[in-house]
């Protein structure tokens, strides 16, 4: 154990990986400098108490989440590209809830509770999308206009008690941001902007994610609670043991962690640098030789011989700028080395991760399996830049994997990245089982590297116990 950690003068939460450059030190040395949203820090010490574990397996806790958290939070329902034309719709489900997200006109997107007001049949099947001019029930033919107003009730003479103006489809709140469509069941919820907070709004507004398209979409069942599944992706602390194949070129123990209000947190995990765990064991040339990215196919057969004094990180930044520009037909000349290389992982409470970087351009969404709160529907979207001189491609169709299938089987998934996700999944099976088998009723977290887990669970607690949250 280092002297720094043993030094009683260091308050809880202030210790950092000893004798190593910080993420900000690494980024400050880059040739193409990073923007403000990269060059800022917002860590906050939030205590060291254990996180109670019944939340991961207790059915009563899951029920409370449905009644409180899920009904009061802004959730990523679909991308605008899923519904580009009036009449296009996309069905988003959360537990037993189901919503039809539809574009009524060019700038009017609405979300309806997906149930006929006659005898309750879903107006559209779960997990579907399409285009229509009306939402017609397949049972008795009652139909609603795109704007939600009742269009027709079959045998109107038999329903003198049905007043059309009171039979419009109930709606949720809807807001769009950076190409994402968010919904909230709480009519009194704060605006999405207030919910996410000014710091994150400044970040996302500089990313241009509205100019991305879904190149790959994979959905997989994970046999673990949704919160546990999310937490597997909130820290780089696990990289050295879980993903040793990437540790040589990942600054895992010196990654940066930040929290913003109650609903957003992030890490920045620098790539192209040696893990502090492996200090002295590898050269810069070794780092370059073992460097991989989310989509290794983009790199192709590159020159991997470093000149004297040249850093692996700088070579990778220069190479990736050229390769990604060619592969994606986009202009990246103003994009910083850090944005090209590093892993930026943001959590948008409750269930979405956004990775705004270039090499790792993912969005994750996590939802509890409606049939089992100890199962998670985990979705991975790859958002690539829209070609600068081409038409926007249609969003990729989802590929569905069951719990025993490998991510590497999914069409469009890079095999190297799929293998990383498989390693995370394998841990989760054992973690869910272990938590349920344990004599210890709480999870013990690191003060810095696992702050996102604590921050996330503190917000879960606030919703479930009815406390106020930021933005209200």
């Amino acid at each position: 154990m280092s002297e720094q950690v043993l030094d009683q003068q260091i308050a809880h939460g202030e210790a950092r990986c000893p004798d190593e450059p910080t993420t900000q030190d690494i980024i400050a040395s880059d040739k193409v400098g990073a923007p403000d949203w990269v060059r800022s820090e917002s860590y906050e010490y939030l205590g060291s108490e254990d996180i109670s574990t019944e939340r991961y397996y207790d059915p009563e806790y899951a029920k409370k989440e449905y009644d409180t958290l899920w009904k009061r939070t802004w959730q990523f329902a679909c991308r605008e590209e899923h519904i580009p034309e009036p009449g296009d719709y996309y069905v988003y489900d959360l537990g037993r809830y189901s919503f039809i997200i539809t574009r009524v006109s060019e700038n009017d997107i609405r979300a309806y509770y997906n149930a006929c007001l006659h005898r309750g049949t879903k107006l559209r099947a779960s997990g579907t999308e399409g285009c229509t001019q009306e939402f017609k029930c397949s049972f008795h033919g009652w139909s609603w206009n795109l704007d939600g107003s009742l269009k027709q009730s079959t045998c109107e003479w038999d329903f003198p008690h049905v007043q059309a103006d009171k039979f419009s489809l109930p709606q949720t709140r809807v807001e769009t941001l950076a190409g994402f469509v968010f919904i909230n069941m709480d009519q009194n919820a704060p605006s999405l902007e207030d919910y996410l907070g000014p710091e994150f709004m400044a970040h996302i507004n500089s990313w241009g994610l509205e100019n991305r398209y879904i190149q790959c979409h994979v959905s997989k069942l994970i046999p673990a609670n949704w919160k546990l599944t999310m937490e597997a992706f909130m820290e780089a602390y696990h990289v050295i043991d879980t993903h040793p194949q990437v540790a040589v070129s990942n600054g895992d123990a010196n990654s940066q962690y930040d929290v913003y209000g109650d609903h957003v947190n992030r890490f920045i995990s620098p790539l192209g640098v040696l893990s502090p765990h492996l200090k002295g064991q590898y050269s810069e040339q070794d780092i370059l030789d073992q460097f991989t990215v989310g989509d290794a196919s983009v790199l192709g057969d590159i020159d991997r011989t470093l000149a004297e004094g040249e850093s692996a990180r700088q070579r990778m930044a220069d190479t990736m700028r050229a390769m990604f520009e060619q592969a994606t037909n986009t202009d990246l000349s103003r994009v910083s080395d850090s944005e090209l290389l590093d892993c930026f992982s943001y959590t948008l409470f409750p269930n979405t991760f956004v990775f705004p970087g270039i090499s790792l351009p993912m969005v994750y969404r996590f939802r509890p399996d409606p049939k089992d709160h100890r199962m998670t529907i985990y979705e991975v979207f790859f958002l690539r830049p829209v070609p600068k001189d081409g038409e926007r491609p249609d969003p990729a169709e989802p590929v569905y994997l069951d719990e025993v299938q490998s991510f590497t089987e999914a069409e469009g998934m890079d095999p190297g990245f799929g293998a990383i996700l498989d390693q995370d999944t394998e841990n989760l099976i054992l973690q869910q089982q272990g938590i349920e088998a344990s004599a210890k009723p709480g999870l013990t977290l690191g003060n810095y590297q696992e702050i996102r887990v604590r921050h996330f669970e503190m917000t879960v607690d606030k919703y479930v116990s009815g406390q106020s949250v930021s933005g209200q």
Binding site: G127, T128, G130, C131, S138, D394, E397
Partner: protein, 111 residues
């Protein structure tokens, strides 16, 4: 073959329309021998399927074509344009698919 394309016996195929009448991501429906046929273009390919949804016998012509599938506009059933397979509820049965070929800028379909 002498460099010439061998055209199969044409009796089984019927001229459906000119290629230009089905633009990229477009579709066209017409009857062949009393059978409603829908020709769609998606992902640089042409497909010929039944124009009638297997769910409640409604026409598919106004459905959305995307990624080699068509979605019925009435209740949302979706079908694989290559195999006819029903991809989601409320449909559980496939729609018919037909052989299609291009001859002299004409789309021909075998029903």
């Amino acid at each position: 073959m002498n460099g010439e394309e061998m055209i199969p016996v044409t009796a089984a195929f019927t001229r459906f329309c000119e290629v230009s009448q089905v633009p990229p991501n477009g579709k066209k429906a017409a009857k062949i021998n009393g059978v409603w046929v829908l020709v769609c273009h998606s992902k640089d390919r042409y497909f010929a399927v039944s124009n009638i949804c297997s769910h409640q016998v409604k026409p598919l012509i106004n459905g959305r074509v995307r990624n080699c599938a068509i979605t019925c506009p009435v209740h949302g059933a979706k079908f694989n344009l290559e195999t006819g397979e029903a991809l989601n509820l409320p449909a559980t049965k496939p729609i018919d698919t037909y052989e299609l070929r291009i001859v002299d800028d004409w789309i021909e379909v075998k029903v």
